[in-house]
Amino acid sequence: MKRNFEDDKKNMVVVEGSYAVADAVKACRPNVISAYPITPQTHIVEDLSQFIADGEIPNCEYINVESEFSAISALVGSSAAGARSYSATTSQGLELMHEVLFNISGMRLPVVMTVANRAVSAPINIWNDHQDSISQRDTGWIQLHAEDTQEASDMTAQAFKIAEDPDILLPVLACLDGFILSHVYEPVVLLDEELVAEYLPPFEPKFKLDPKNPKTFGAFADPNSYTEFRYLQQQAMNKALKVIEDAADEFYDLFGRHYGGLIDTYQTEDADIILMAMGSIVGTIKDVVDKLRAQGVKVGVLKVRSFRPFPAEAIKNAIKGAKVVVALDKNISLGLNEGALFTETKGSLYNTNVNIPIIGFMIGHGGRDIPMSTMEAIVDEAKKVIDSGITVESQFTDLKEELL
């Protein structure tokens, strides 16, 4: 928790979350933006389009593609040609991109894409949960989640820095909760372009499509070499664990704002109960923690910023002193009845010396409101685990029995 609120306050403006992200993209000086409209991502690409129309992003082409599939495909070509490349999408659009996401990571193209997280159809639903980006878990993209609009804005610059690091060269999904963050007006500090220029060096890839030095991109690899491509992607993910932390620290040094690197913690050091989650729900949990702490309940919150690479070691160290851990997931793996954060935390601890009961709650699907009372009820369930062990390992939250 190194945020420098004093400096922040002087420079704050009240803008929509989408605008804060778009402004951050502008500050990062992209060369090619390619996007297709989809709610609730639209305001980001509309703001970027206006910046282009006003001549505020030099040396940048904006491609109005005919689909999300082409939005992300165009960035295969642009990134390979040496352009800093950006898109934004959500939900159905992200799912349509699925095949291309694998392709971009496999070709080691450092594209950055904002995801305004939204539920997936059917039934069609435009509100927030995390099923869209969680479903891209294995595509080889780094996946970061922001808690508030300031973090979403700042994460954009961090995402380019991480992606373009010569040791990484992996694409990044920078996620913010649809509507809850994309459409909320909050005071934020917009990114200072000169500072961003200092923070983020120009994108100068070692290899690009260049007639003076012809290279082949996207070759086919038979069983003799395919495995090694996957291995090298995993090695880059391993290296990203440190680079994500470094990007957060260097950002703090220049901008005075910090949100954690792989994870962040609040009141966890002496906590018996630790709630872990991603995205805007963390803010709600912090209020619950404050309230319950005042009542003497030793509860804290672990924010997971990086879902990929999964910060198993950082999570283990943060929770090892707790008596129970509760994972909150705005997603579900149907057929397992678990959310991803729960499954993966449980799995990553299995062969370690940390043996703490973990329970999972799937929550906020399709944008269902998450009131503090729900969170307090979850903490009550966690207390029961401390007293008498796990009775229900993973469950839906606030299920309306009358609709079943």
Binding site: N31, V32, I63, E66, S78, A80, A83, E99, P211, T216
Partner: protein, 291 residues
Amino acid sequence: MKPLLQAGHRGCAGCCDAIAAKFTLMAAGEDCIVVSPTGCLEVMTTPYPESSWNVPFIHSLFENNAAVASGVEAALKAKGEFGKTKIIAMGGDGATLDIGMRSISGAFERGHDFTYVCIDNEAYMNTGVQRSGATPFAASTTTSPAGKVSFGNIRPKKNMPAIMVAHGSPYVTTTSIGYPKDMIRKVKKAVDIEGPTYVHAHSPCTTGWGFDTSKTIEIAKLAVETCLWPLYEVEDGELTKAKKIKNPKPVEDYLKMQRRFKHLFTMEGGDEMIKKIQALADANIEKFGLQ
């Protein structure tokens, strides 16, 4: 001059893709970037760690070739590197007019400055000769096989050049690998014209069509000489040129050399189908003024 498509690739003897790619590069020159979808061409020329390409080459996926080319063009423009370098998207008929249709439609509507070369061998050859939207009437493929109650593919070819004309492309042309000078001239013209231009190259596939590997060019010529594949140019929506065929050969001359049409000569009623194919050729003569 250094060959821009290096010998030693893994194409079949008599491969149409290699011929089409070679002519395209002869026209475009070494200052070009080639974008290619999944298919025989990419597989046979880029087995890691080898590559036959002496120009920058990128393969992404099957259905996004024109979108990738759009991105390459946008990148060069944004970085002030656009101008002399030609951008060539080169892909098969399935990648172009079936699965890649949305992508090429979007790219042409947006007006990106690149040339798309469709290497049309009239079926999905890389996966084993399955029917595509470019498969001609009555051809037998592995997913439109001739059988006791079937003469093979029941639909005529999708008219892709007309679709590209409808997109407002400044230059749409058909060509054939049987006519090297024609193809090289047209690709060169296409890359020199500003905006999205389209070259549709008829390209006989020795394994897919079933003919001897020495006959690729002969078959390609016969398609033109029978008027089943007219060679024409459309500039700014107007038909400006069509290759005249003084004495068109009967379509049987073309059909009988290929395994994919063999059933038309052995099945009862095959002669009726051949008449229908002759009618398609006759319609081309009329439509494009080939005589």
